[in-house]
Structure formats: C-alpha cells, structure tokens
C-alpha cells in the first residue's frame, strides 16, 4: 500500500506471497468474460445491429474458457484462486472442481447455442430493451454460481442471475409477462431471502463463509451446533429455486410468458443452478444432516416427478406443458440427491447435463412448432408432420430423450437412479421414476399425436421467418443428446468423478487449504 512504502510488513500470514499460476485465471475467466462483454453491450445499447455479433464473440470466449477450465481440472485437480491475494478463508475463493466445471461448460454451450437462436428470435425492440446485456450478465451469474467457493458469494451470483432474469422475463412489457414475472420475482425473492438468512445464521455458527472451511468445521463440531436448522433452511431455499414440489408453482406460471429463447435459457440453466446449490450444501457441507432428511428429500423427489408429469398431461398450452416437464426432471435429480450414493449422485449430475441440453432444445422446438402451427394451444395445432418432416424427426428424438427412452441421453441417468434406489431397497422411489417416465411419455405422445400426426392446416409460410437457423440450433443440441445416449462412458466417468469429489470433500478442502492452515 502506498502509505506503507517505508515500512516492511510481514504479510505472509494473511496474503499469498508466491506467484500465481496463470492457468489459475481460468477459474475466474468464465465470470469476467461475460461481465466485460455485458458491460460493453450496455455501453452501446443503441447500436443494436452489432449486439448479436458482440454477444456471440463473448459467448464463444466463455465456452473456450469453460472448456479449458474443465480440461485443467481433469488434468491437474481442483483449481483455486482467492481474490485480492488474501489467504482463504479471509478472501473470497473461487474453487472449480469437476462438478462446477462440467456444469459451467454445459451452461456455456447451451448459452452459445441460444445466442445463435436469439438472432432469429430477438427483434430490434428486444435488443433495445437490453436483451443481450441481460443475457451476458445472467451468464456471469450462472458461471459464478457454479465456480465460487464461498457461500455468501454464491448468494451474490444468485442475485446477479436473478436480477438479469427479471429483465429478460419482462422483455417487451406485455401484460401476461408482467403477470408471470410478478410470481417469479416474488417467490424467487422469498427463496433468496431464506438463503441469506441461512447464510447469516451459518456465519454466526461457524464464523466463516468459505465452503471448504465450512465443510471442515461442520464435520468437526458435535451435535451442539444447530446445523440441522441450517441444512433444512438451505434445502428449502434451494428446493424453491430448483422448483421442487410443493414450491414449484412459480415455474409453470412464468416460463411460458417470455420470448422463446428466454424460456429456453431459463429452463436449461436456472433450475439446474438450484440443483447444483443443493448438491453443494447438502452433500458436501452437511452430509450428516442430509442423511437425516434423506427420506424427506426422497418423498419430495417422488412427488415432484410424478406431479410434474401429471401437470404436463393436464396442459393444453405446449409451453406450459414444457414447464411441467422441467419440474418432473427436477424430481429425478432430487431422487439422486436423496440416495446420495456414488451412483445416485453421479446420476443427478449426469441428468443435470442432459436436462440443460434437452430442455433448452425442447423450448426452442416448442417455439418453432407454435410459430409454424400458428398456435401454441395443442387443440389448434396439427399437420406439422406432413409440412415439416425434419422438425418431426428432431421432435421425436427430443421427446424420447426427455422421457428417458433409449437410445438417447435421458436413459442412462434414469437407469442409474433406479439402480441406486433398488440398491438401498427404496423400491417406491424407483417405481416413481419409472412412473414419471411413463406419464411423461404419454404427455409427449399426446403432443406428437395432436400436433404432428393429426391432419390440420399449418400457418401460411410467406410471412414467417425462415427455419434454417432454428434447425441448425436444434441439431447443435440434438447431436450431443444422441452422442451421450449412444456413448455415455465419457460423461459417466466425468459425473462419477464429480460425485466422488462431492462425497469426499477432502480433496476440495486440501485444494483450498494446501497446508491444512487457515483458522
């Protein structure tokens, strides 16, 4: 510091004194890149013509940084950087493990694909309302949530992505959007407030916010500290974020109102951030408490997946139906969390990756279907198979994938969840996974029969935008879905590694506190 120029102060007890490996910057790059590009787009808000190009360059850099980070994590183990040269737990740490890096990369890829689709979907008005700055800042929030190693910082990234998502949700300020956004905003603010209260409480108990430090201390303190309360508060807050039953009603109430690409992004990314936070807090931070509430989580999971699928069956608006299918998938991920075995957790992580890709693609598909059929109500749709055979093929792949049927990506995580459930004798949980799969299949078969097979008139093509970009985007999402389905081994070993790291946080703690130091 300037004022201390004359005095020699020993800072080695509080600050990092050695040089930092430039590769460690990879852990912060997925946050800095979208912030910088979002800020640039905000500065030139009126030059709407270049927005899409600038945003896509930013997203390409984001994907490159995410991919490099994942490669680095796989080759060299956890990547840790503590901001401002402070030593953890005083500084805010960013810690990338296999789980965070995998989800960040998938989120980046989904965002890039959605970025291309936005060229078609977001007109000049949407751009003037600031679609691209909000989009990039939301990606900063999503990447930050996946990579931060500090629980209060996680709260900050949740806020960043939440505020940006408000902006995206009301793009265009239509009556219906404001209605959906009010429910979304209110319930999400309740959830973040609970998150904040829980974090304040946690700080009161442990005196630290660094996740590695919390994990270390939580296993050390006896039954005297009210950690059960903490675990429950976090479970409730994040279950609300992830849209688990019975706090899931905000999702189908709001996800059908914004632009197609916005719903696609939300469905792909936001609920998965909730699942990630659940994994991080329940499994890594408070495993003993999670074991006690495991049965509760399992019932919540079963209710979420079955009621989600039933909700999908009851809908006639195709976009509302997709909202319920998102909810149903959350149930499957929660089932893996409830089992918390190596197999169950790796299924959850596998399913999260699958769900990001498939839900984004499904919403984009639903957008294209309603555009071409001239309606988003199932009763008025029809004749799509005859007019658009290629779209039908893509729809079939995505429907089978999301229902968990072979040979697509949804099959494997469901197989593993069922196996993990049967391993511990929870036959009813395995049964609900299968039942929700059947119900989802029926719901989607209904879409297929009514919108594609049934004869009917499609909208006149002349005044519609060309489909080419829509198809390119969908194929870009379908290829990994098929690939993962046919060759699940790479993703399986990746999610297995991520699950092993979650179950045994010693490596995570060791990466943040190399000498076992800290307070």
């Amino acid at each position: 510091m300037a004022g201390m120029a004359g005095k020699a102060v020993d800072i080695s007890g509080a600050m990092v004194t050695g040089p930092v490996d430039p590769a460690d910057w990879l852990v912060i790059a997925p946050v800095v890149i979208p912030v910088v590009f979002g800020a640039l787009l905000l500065m030139f808000r009126k030059e709407t013509r270049e927005h899409a190009a600038v945003a896509i360059i930013g997203l390409l850099l984001l994907v490159a940084a995410d991919a490099a980070l994942l490669a680095h994590v796989l080759a060299r183990g956890h990547v840790v950087m503590t901001m401002g040269r402070w030593l953890p737990p005083f500084g805010i740490s960013f810690t990338a493990d296999a789980l965070g890096a995998t989800l960040a990369l998938t989120a980046g890829v989904v965002a890039l694909v959605a970025g291309f689709y936005s060229i078609r979907d977001i007109g000049n008005t949407g751009r003037r309302y600031g679609f691209y700055p909000f989009f990039l800042l939301m990606m900063a929030g999503v990447s930050g949530s996946f990579l931060t190693g500090d629980i209060f910082n996680l709260y900050v990234w949740f806020e960043v992505l939440l505020i940006s998502s408000f902006g995206l949700l009301i793009l265009g300020s239509e009556h219906e959007q404001i209605d959906g956004a009010t429910k979304y905003a209110f319930l999400n603010l309740v959830a973040t407030t609970l998150f904040l209260i829980a974090t304040g409480y946690l700080y009161g108990i442990f005196g630290t916010l660094n996740m590695a430090d919390i994990a270390r201390k939580a296993s050390a303190v006896g039954p005297t500290a009210p950690i059960m309360t903490l675990a429950m508060l976090y479970f409730f807050a994040f279950a609300m974020k992830a849209a688990a039953f019975p706090v899931n009603f905000w999702l189908p109430a709001s996800y059908h109102t914004p632009r197609v690409v916005v719903s696609a992004l939300f469905a792909g990314l936001l609920t998965k951030v909730g699942i990630y936070a659940l994994l991080r807090t329940q499994v890594m931070l408070f495993p003993a408490q999670r074991d006690i509430i495991a049965e509760l989580i399992a019932w919540v999971a079963a209710a979420t997946m079955i009621l989600g699928a039933l909700g999908a069956l009851a809908q006639s608006d195709i976009r509302r139906m997709m909202g319920f299918i998102v909810v149903s998938g959350i149930g499957v991920m929660l089932a893996g969390l409830a089992l918390a075995s190596q197999l169950g957790l790796s299924a959850t992580i596998f399913y999260a990756v699958h769900s990001m890709l498939v839900m984004t693609a499904l919403y984009i598909l639903a957008g294209l279907m309603s555009e071409r059929a001239g309606s988003h109500v199932l009763h008025d749709m029809g004749g799509l198979y005859r007019a658009y055979p290629f779209m039908t093929a893509i729809a079939l792949v995505l429907f089978l994938a999301v229902a968990g049927l072979p040979p697509f990506s949804g099959l494997w995580p469901k197989v593993f969840v069922v196996k993990a459930a049967l391993d511990v004798g929870a036959w009813w949980l395995a049964f609900s996974v299968l039942l929700s799969g059947i119900l989802t299949t029926i719901a989607l078969a209904r879409v297929f029969a009514l919108a594609f097979w049934r004869d009917g008139a499609t909208a006149a093509v002349e005044d519609l935008k060309p489909l080419r970009l829509g198809y390119v985007v969908l194929v870009a999402l379908v290829v990994p879905v098929v690939w993962i389905g046919v060759d699940p081994e790479p993703l399986l070993s990746l999610s297995g590694k991520a699950a092993a790291d979650l179950l045994d946080p010693a490596r995570y703690i060791g990466a943040v506190f190399p000498e076992g130091g800290g307070s």
Partner: protein, 139 residues
C-alpha cells in the same frame, strides 16, 4: 416545483453536489465515503436538476445515456481486476503506483479505479431510474 427560486438555485446546487460526490468518492479509500455513497450523491444531484428544470436538460447535460455510464462503470470495475493478471497476482489484487504530478506524489491504485467504476454504475443506474420516473410527471 418549478418556482423561480428553485429553478435558479438548482443548477448551482447540482454542480456543488456533483463536486462533493467526487470528493466523497476520492476520500473513500481510508475514510468514510467511497464509490457507492458518492454515486448516490451525484445521482440525487441529477434528480434535483431534473425536478427543477425538466428531464431533457439533464439528459443533454449528461451527454451520455445514463445506462451507458453504468455500463462503462461496470467495465472499468471488471478491468481494474484484470490488471492484476499482468502482475502474476490473483484477480482484484490492489496494485499501487505513485507518479509525481507537478512535484506532488499522487497515489493511484486499482482499488480507486474499481471505486470509480462503482461510482459510475451507481450514478448511471440510479439516474436512469430517477429520470424515467420524472419523465412521467413533467414531459
């Protein structure tokens, strides 16, 4: 609110408040103050100007759109952290330089750049909200 007294005083008041906000911003490193509170003072200065003389003179006087100012602030704050990449230290590490301007040592640092970024974000976003609210009433 457009009395002659208020309209005469407001521009002077605004300039004083903006000056004061910069003073608060710069003293913020070691003493009470800083970018956030400085930004709020400046934003209220523009709000007062807007109430007295209407929104369009404020927009003209600001020259840049308030949201563009906020975007620039965000960029500045982010880049002040990136600077440490070139020094081999972690993100957001405070870096200091002490150049002599006219024989006086001036401490320049990345925390100050970050704080200026915060100041601009707050000025930009709060002014943007205030002007949008005032526009409904007067224009």
């Amino acid at each position: 609110m457009r009395t002659i007294i208020f309209r005469t005083v407001a521009p002077n008041l605004t300039s004083l408040m903006v000056l004061f906000s910069i003073f608060v911003l710069l003293r913020g490193h070691n003493e009470p103050g800083g970018g956030f509170i400085g930004g709020l003072i400046a934003a209220s200065a523009f709000a007062i100007y807007g109430i007295a003389c209407g929104v369009s003179p404020v927009r003209r006087a600001l020259w840049f759109h308030p949201m563009a100012i906020a975007g620039f602030g965000l960029l500045l704050a982010a880049l002040s952290g990136v600077l440490s990449l070139f020094q081999g230290v972690p993100f957001l590490t405070g870096l200091w330089a002490e150049p002599h301007l006219f024989g006086v040592p001036v401490a320049v640092s990345t925390p100050m750049v970050f704080d200026i970024g915060v100041y601009l974000v707050v000025v930009g976003s709060i002014t943007s909200i205030a002007l949008a609210l005032e526009e409904r009433d007067y224009d």
